[in-house]
C-alpha cells in the first residue's frame, strides 16, 4: 500500500510538472518532440513486455500500433463517438484481434514466433492497403482527425493537448510498471527464464503468454492512438514491418535491463532520426549502420553499455555497498559458491 501511494505521488507529480512545463515553455517544437516520444515510447514499452519480460520476440508488434491508430481515427471521423468511447472501442478491438493472433502465435517459440508475428503483420498491412474505402489505401487516412471536447478537456488547446499526452503516457507506463511487478509479471519472467520448469511448477505457459500478448497489444494500440492524434491521421507505415523493427531497435538501444530503457531508446532513435533527416535523405542507410554499430559493436544496449562502463570505473573506488549488486554474475557467483562451500563443510 505504501508503495502504491508513492507511485501515485510520482504519477501526479509528473502530470503536475507537465502542466507547469506547458505554461512555461512556449516552444512548440520541444512540446511536439515530447508528444511524439509519448506515442513511440509507449509503443516500445509495450513491446518490451513481450521481448524483455516474457522472452517473446515479436517482429509484428506494429500491427497493433496501426490497428489502434486506424480504428481510433476511423471512429472519430465517421461516427459521433467522443474520444473516450472511440479509445475504448479501439483498445477492445485491438485486444480481441490480439487474442486471435496470439492464440496462433504464442504456441511457437523463438524465431518461429518472430516470423509468424511478422507474417501476420504483413497480412494486416496488405489488408490496410487493399481496403482503401475504409483506410484510404496507400495514402492513409488524410484530412485530419477531429478532437471533440470531452470531460471538460479541449485537445484543440495546445497546452491541454500536451498535458493530455503526458497524462495518458504516464498512466499507461504506470500500469505496465505495476504489471511487471505483479505476480503475473513474475510468471512472465519465469517463462522467459525457463519455460519448461515453469510448466512443471504448474504455470499455464500458454495462457500466460497469450495474456501478455493481448496486454502488450492493447498498450501498443494506445500508443498508436496517441500517434494518430499527433499526426492527425493514420498511415500504412504505422503497421509496416519497419516500425516493428524500429521498436526492437529502441529496446536494444535502451537496454533490456530496466523498465524505462525502451523509452530512452525511443528518445535516442527520435534524436538520431532528427539528425539524419536534417543532413540526408538516406535514412535507411544511416539507421542501418547505427544498428550495426550498436548491436555488433556494443553487443548490448547503449544504456547498458554506459551503465556498465561507469560501474566498472567506480567499482574499484567503492568497496562493497551498492556496486556489488552489479558486479558481474560470474564473479559474485564464484564468491558466493566459495562462501557456501565453507558453510556446508562447517555443518
Amino acid at each position: 500500500m505504501k508503495g502504491t501511494l508513492k507511485e501515485v505521488a510520482v504519477v501526479v507529480t509528473i502530470i503536475a510538472g507537465a502542466v507547469i512545463f506547458s505554461g512555461l515553455v512556449e516552444s512548440g517544437s520541444v512540446r511536439d518532440s515530447i508528444i511524439r516520444l509519448c506515442g513511440v515510447g509507449l509503443f516500445a514499452l509495450s513491446l518490451n513486455l513481450l521481448v524483455g519480460y516474457t522472452g517473446l520476440l515479436s517482429f509484428g508488434h506494429a500491427m497493433f500500433f496501426g490497428l489502434g491508430a486506424y480504428t481510433f481515427a476511423i471512429l472519430l471521423r465517421t461516427t459521433g463517438f467522443g474520444i473516450p468511447l472511440a479509445a475504448a472501442c479501439s483498445i477492445a478491438l485491438s485486444g480481441a484481434v490480439a487474442a486471435v493472433v496470439g492464440a496462433i502465435c504464442v504456441r511457437l517459440t523463438h524465431v518461429y514466433f518472430a516470423f509468424l508475428t511478422l507474417a501476420i503483420q504483413m497480412l494486416f498491412y496488405s489488408l490496410l492497403i487493399a481496403c482503401s474505402g475504409l483506410t484510404g489505401g496507400e495514402q492513409g487516412l488524410i484530412g485530419g482527425i477531429p478532437r471533440p471536447k470531452f470531460l471538460g478537456v479541449d485537445l484543440m488547446q495546445p497546452g491541454e493537448y500536451f498535458v493530455f499526452n503526458i497524462a495518458i503516457f504516464v498512466a499507461a507506463a504506470w500500469a505496465l510498471w505495476r504489471i511487471v511487478r505483479s505476480p503475473f509479471g513474475a510468471a512472465l519472467r519465469m517463462i522467459r527464464d525457463n519455460p519448461q520448469r515453469a510448466v512443471f511448477l504448474g504455470v499455464d505457459v500458454y495462457r500466460t503468454k497469450l495474456a501478455a500478448f493481448v496486454l502488450a497489444s492493447a498498450f501498443a494500440a494506445i500508443a498508436g492512438m496517441l500517434t494518430a492524434l499527433y499526426v492527425s491521421g493514420a498511415y500504412p507505415n504505422f503497421a509496416f514491418w519497419t516500425m516493428s523493427g524500429e521498436g526492437l531497435f529502441m529496446i536494444m538501444l535502451g537496454g533490456v535491463n530496466g523498465f524505462a530503457g525502451p523509452v530512452v531508446g525511443a528518445g535516442l532513435l527520435l534524436l538520431l532520426d532528427t539528425v539524419v533527416n536534417a543532413y540526408t535523405a538516406h535514412r535507411g542507410l544511416f539507421l542501418g549502420l547505427a544498428i550495426l554499430v550498436t548491436s555488433l559493436g556494443l553487443r548490448k544496449g547503449v544504456v547498458d553499455f554506459v551503465r556498465d562502463a561507469s560501474d566498472g570505473r567506480f567499482a574499484s573506488e567503492r568497496t562493497g555497498g551498492r556496486s556489488k549488486e552489479r558486479a558481474s554474475g560470474a564473479q559474485s557467483g564464484l564468491h558466493e559458491a566459495a562462501i557456501q562451500q565453507s558453510n556446508t563443510e562447517g555443518v
Binding site: 500466460t208 557467483g333 563443510e345
Partner: protein, 249 residues
C-alpha cells in the same frame, strides 16, 4: 494426505525401441522409494511419463484411482506430483526467495494477479519456511544463477516442495556431488520427508545412499523391472547381484 501411485504395464517405445517395458509398480503414500539401474535403464523416462512430459505407448498410471495418462504436466502437478531435475532447473534472474515465492504463488493459482505486488509477504513467508527447512536461508537473497552446484540442487527440490506435493520425484539428487556433500544432501532430504511426510521417489546411483534411506527399491534394467521390494530383499536378489551389483560385491 493420500497419494497412492499405481503404475501398471507401462510401456514406452521410441521408434520400435522399448525404453520402458511392461513396468508395474505400486507406491504407498508416504513411502521412501529408490529407483535404481544402470545408465539407459529407463529411469528418467519413467519419471518423464509420471510427470506427463512423455506419453507412454501403453499402460496406465493412476494416482488414488485417477488416471494421469493424457493429462498435461500442469494438471499432474496440481494433482500433487512434483519433481526436481537431474540438472537443477531454475530461474536464472530470480533471487532464491523470489523463485520460491513464485512457485508458492503458482501453487496457490495466484499468478494471474496483475495488480498485487510481487512477492507479497504471505507468499514470502511460506517460501522462507521451506528455505529454512531445506537449509537455504543464508542464500535467499542471491540470484539463482550465482548459486553453487549443491545449492542449485537444493533449490530445485525446494521449488518442487513449494507445490506441497503428495509425491516428490527426485532425479539423482546427489548427481555431481562429492561423498560428504551427497551425505549432507540425503540428510536434508530425509529431514524434509520427516517434516512433510510426502512419498519420496528418487533415482540414485550410490548404493550406500539407496540402502541407507530407501524403504522400497525398484531395479530397472533395459526398461524392464528386474526386481523390487525392501532393500534387504533386493540386495539378495540373485539377478540384481549379477546384473547390477555384481562388480560391487
Amino acid at each position: 494426505m493420500r497419494g497412492h501411485l499405481q503404475i501398471s504395464n507401462l510401456t514406452k517405445s521410441f521408434g520400435g525401441l522399448n525404453a520402458i517395458r511392461d513396468v508395474t509398480m505400486a507406491l504407498e503414500p508416504g513411502v521412501r522409494a529408490a529407483v535404481i539401474g544402470p545408465n539407459g535403464a529407463g529411469k528418467t523416462t519413467l519419471f518423464n511419463m509420471i510427470t506427463g512430459h512423455l506419453s507412454p505407448t501403453a499402460g496406465s498410471i493412476r494416482l488414488d484411482e485417477g488416471e494421469l495418462i493424457g493429462l498435461r504436466p500442469g494438471a499432474i502437478v496440481r494433482r500433487g506430483i512434483s519433481r526436481a531435475f537431474q540438472v537443477a532447473s531454475l530461474f536464472g534472474t530470480f533471487t532464491v526467495r523470489e523463485a520460491m515465492a513464485a512457485a508458492v504463488l503458482s501453487h496457490r493459482q495466484r499468478l494471474f494477479d496483475l495488480i498485487g505486488a510481487f512477492p507479497a509477504p504471505a507468499a514470502f513467508e511460506h517460501a522462507r519456511h521451506i528455505l529454512s527447512l531445506i537449509g537455504l536461508s543464508d542464500v535467499e537473497k542471491s540470484r539463482c544463477d550465482t548459486l553453487s552446484h549443491g545449492d542449485r540442487k537444493l533449490l530445485d527440490i525446494a521449488l518442487a516442495l513449494a507445490l506441497e506435493p503428495r509425491i516428490l520425484l527426485l532425479d539423482e539428487p546427489t548427481a555431481g556431488m562429492g561423498r560428504d556433500e551427497s551425505r549432507l544432501m540425503i540428510d536434508r532430504i530425509y529431514r524434509l520427508w520427516e517434516a512433510e511426510g510426502m512419498s519420496l521417489v528418487f533415482i540414485e546411483h550410490d548404493m550406500d545412499i539407496v540402502f541407507g534411506i530407501a524403504e522400497q527399491v525398484f531395479v530397472l534394467r533395459n526398461g524392464a523391472l528386474l526386481a523390487s521390494g525392501e532393500p534387504a530383499e533386493v540386495r539378495r536378489h540373485p539377478q540384481v547381484i549379477e546384473a547390477y551389483l555384481g562388480s560391487a560385491t
